[in-house]
């Protein structure tokens, strides 16, 4: 019997149909579970620079270490694959999701599932406690993810079964495909599942998750509920102001950080009163039904809308940051397209960014309708968006090549088209204005996964940004505390000022380590956070990493504090770094497109800003030094890995000659 963890990994091979279990042992627990646990399994099961569609490539599911322990906010799962979307080297792709799949896996008795091999015919996996079956998926193959879930629950005769599935996009190996569960997902990992002819993983468990101190967990939960209620009272706001999602979504565009319009073409568009009015009046409030949330969390944060004739879906928080990328104000059409893409099982941010790129090319006359199956890619065209999604998912027309990624399509369109494409390792860049935010730019460049809000920057992007005057959830008390914290923590208040270079490497490392911890414990990303200003999630009160550490101890019985917790985060980040370095990453490829260094922000509050190459490279130097990595190559040093209890990883890297120089190298370019 174990506390916290289930203690087992389920392994199966779709070619041989063999299943087995292995213990989730001490070596593995160094990386907790969830994202970190998946990375450990990836390290052991994936080959260097492995072809994503190699039958032997692992498809890894993981439950956060604290999922199913009854702690409010710990319910997330992680899917890790050899990403088919990456262009420079094949390496890891991952995505985290909430809802109910992860706790269900724990109740079934597993922490992780590793799937290898390839089935000849479409199959789905049905896990019911100890019983694991590989079953015929022909009744659901070709269906959208919504219907798939309903049908599979009928097929396994259990309404409580949890389903993670792919839609047509994943089946047809579009690299933008996602694995979907309960409207969640976001980052492309689905085609790796499609390549195995695996439609879904259905899981149902009736067993227990043992915990070290049940009373303590109840006490922590009680405290959290009271903290939320107290914050509400203090701010004098109704639940709806901050929690409904409308706020995060609209504010994100109108006053927040998500205001990149078009293909990095404007910022000021949003400042036009007519545009603002369109957004405010078009908001879907009349279709709002209720919020839905994750297992074991009484604060549901995903607003569910139901548009007559369209159906229900949630405006997922980050994926909604794109209508303005297409110059769209018609939110009902944007919502319809989001829903359609969820059903097809594809990343709606990625698709929208691709469409914004094509729209830019089209309006600048770089390409014509002829190259786009006669579809005019006018600004604000929901037709172009929906058709692009459909063509990619079914690999028709221009979707045949575009389904292999925007770089493949750009190669076909020519050099000029490629210059308009802002991507990192094959995944599009979007949402964030790197030119005005050096820390966010550094995070994106260094990130192991790439294209990553979560793995690098999900707290960072919230640095000091929601505009104070207009943001209804703004709390001056929080703001003051955040700046004080920044000064104490990083020696400068500027560390949490998004537009400053100062203090960024240190605060980014703090954030990345913390994010790795939250993702690996399965903790909600808005719940676990350091001090920050008026951002969603602050209603939970002080939920720093000490918060996570205490709860980890209550669940597992293992002593833990904030410092140790962050060191585990450091270890997880280093494992992911080891993976991408193994696959070919170097300092030279920790980069961003030249565009962000050359072309200044055209308009808006940050007009004229662009990244400074020298200062950017200096941030990298400082980052590598603080990490204990070799400044010249970006490789990890043996001594660093040893300190982090990762001798085994260092040994493997040494064999591949992928370790940093032993001696302290000179201080880079400064």
């Amino acid at each position: 019997m174990e506390n916290g963890w289930a203690g087992k990994v389920l392994q199966l091979d779709l070619s041989t149909k063999k299943t087995s279990t292995t213990p989730w042992n001490k070596d593995a627990k160094r990386f907790l579970g969830g994202r970190g646990g998946n990375a450990w399994l990836y390290w052991n099961h994936a080959k260097q620079n492995q072809d994503p569609y190699d039958p032997d490539a692992p498809l890894i599911f993981g439950a956060g270490a604290l999922a199913g322990t009854g702690l409010i906010g710990a319910s997330r799962m992680e899917v890790t694959v050899v990403s088919a979307a990456k262009t420079e080297t094949n390496s890891l792709g991952n995505v985290g999701m909430g809802s109910s799949w992860a706790p269900e896996l724990k109740f079934a008795g597993y922490d992780h599932v590793v799937i290898k091999g390839k089935s000849e015919k479409p199959v789905y996996l049905n896990i019911y406690n100890d019983e694991v079956e590989i079953l015929d998926a022909s009744p659901v193959w070709g269906k959208g993810t919504f219907e798939t879930e309903t049908l599979l629950r009928e097929m396994v005769e259990d309404e409580d079964a949890q389903v993670a599935s792919i839609g047509p996009a994943g089946e047809n190996l579009a690299v933008q495909a996602t694995v979907e569960h309960g409207y969640r997902s976001g980052t492309p990992v689905g085609s790796s599942m499609g390549a195995k002819k695996l439609k879904a993983v259905v899981v149902r468990g009736t067993g227990p998750v043992y915990v070290h101190d049940a009373d303590k967990i109840l006490e922590y939960n009680d405290k959290l509920v009271k903290a939320v209620q107290a914050t509400r009272k203090r701010l004098g706001i109704a639940n709806i102001e901050r929690d409904m999602g409308k706020d995060a979504y609209l504010q994100g565009f109108l006053v927040g950080d998500a205001g990149v319009v078009g293909n990095y073409e404007s910022h000021a568009w949003r400042d036009r009163p007519d545009v603002r009015k369109e957004y405010e009046e078009n908001y879907l409030s009349e279709y709002y039904e209720k919020n839905i949330g994750c297992f074991g969390c009484p604060f549901p944060c995903q607003p569910l809308y139901n548009i007559p004739g369209t159906g229900a879906n949630i405006w997922r928080c980050y994926p909604t940051y794109w209508p303005w990328k297409l110059w769209m104000t018609d939110l009902a059409s944007a919502f319809k397209a989001t829903r359609y893409m969820s059903d097809l099982g594809m990343d709606n941010k990625e698709i929208a960014t691709i469409v914004s790129w094509l729209t830019h090319l089209y309006t600048d006359g770089v390409i014509t309708e002829k190259q786009l199956d006669d579809i005019p890619f006018e600004r604000a065209s929901s037709h172009a968006l929906v058709e692009t999604a459909r063509k990619i998912a079914y690999r028709e027309g221009f979707g045949k090549v575009l389904g292999d990624g925007p770089v493949a399509f750009a190669d076909k369109l020519g050099k000029q088209a490629k210059d308009y494409l802002y991507q990192n390792h094959g995944l599009t860049l979007r949402t964030f204005e790197f030119r005005a935010e050096p820390g966010t730019a550094l995070g994106e460049a260094i990130s192991s996964r790439g294209n990553s809000l979560r793995a690098t920057t999900y707290h960072v992007v919230l640095w000091d940004k929601p505009a104070k005057d207009e943001y209804k959830g703004y709390d001056p008390e929080e703001s003051k505390a955040a700046y004080k914290w920044s000064k104490e923590m990083f020696g400068t208040e500027k560390a949490i000022v998004a537009t400053a270079y100062e203090g960024k490497p240190a605060s980014l490392i703090y954030e990345m380590n913390g994010a790795a911890v939250a993702d690996s414990l399965g903790y909600c990303t808005t719940m676990i956070r350091p001090e920050r200003v008026g951002a969603p999630g602050s209603q939970f009160g002080d939920t720093s990493y000490q918060f996570a550490a205490e709860r980890f101890t209550a669940a597992t019985g293992i002593p833990m504090d904030e410092k140790k917790m962050l060191q585990i985060g450091e270890r997880i980040c280093n494992l992911e770094r080891a993976i991408v370095v193994r696959d070919g990453r170097t300092r030279a490829t920790d980069a961003l497109p030249d565009f962000f260094f050359k072309v200044p922000v055209p308009d808006g509050a940050q007009a004229g800003k662009k990244l400074d190459k020298a200062l950017f490279e200096k941030m990298k130097d400082e980052y590598y030094s603080l990490r204990g990595w070799d400044v010249e190559t970006g490789y990890q040093k043996e001594s660093t890995l040893k300190t982090l209890d990762m001798k085994d990883i260092a040994k493997d890297l040494k064999k591949m000659k992928k370790l940093g120089a032993k001696k302290k190298t000179k201080e880079g370019s400064n």
Binding site: G68, T69, G70, I72, S100, F107, G144, T145, F146, E147, E149, T150, E159, D160, G182, Y183, T206, G207, P208, V209, Y210, V211, A214, I217, L218, N221, D222, V225, V228, Q229, K290, N291, I292, G293, C294, F295, G296, C297, P298, F299, P300, L304, N306, G311, A312, N313, R339, S342, D343
Partner: protein, 163 residues
Amino acid sequence: MKVLSVDIEKCTGCKTCETVCSLKNTGRVQPSRSRIKIVRYEKLGEYHNYLPMVCLQCTTPLCMEACPTNAISRNEETGAMTVDDKACVGCRICTMACPIGGISVDPVSNVAFKCDLCGGDPECVKYCDAEAISYVPLDKLDSSIKRSKSVKISELYALMRGQ
């Protein structure tokens, strides 16, 4: 005396009640042994409805009347119907008699188990931020329900007046 009151329109389906119920009563997290169960009516892309199902401590408890071993009795202090584990033989007749599925047989102990109101301090209520389950004095139950239902009517009234 207080009773559990369920407002089905407010439930968000998060199942926090199931986790804390099993934690409190079994010391581990195991929704299959929770005394309260959220029944899901979900169709992805269409609707998401949830119903908290729990013993409501009937005035005329059919489970008690049906029990052939007299294992079920009322706790006078809390008003909860409770099961005597030693007297229960796990025949499951109570589960057939109960009109609302408020009593089941525990998959581990094989005897009947049900909500006992945690001895007068029901754990589930503490975490239900949506207030889908509340613990209210019996003599205030009527006004509590009427108040909750009146919200909709008052909205309708406002609409009628064109507000």
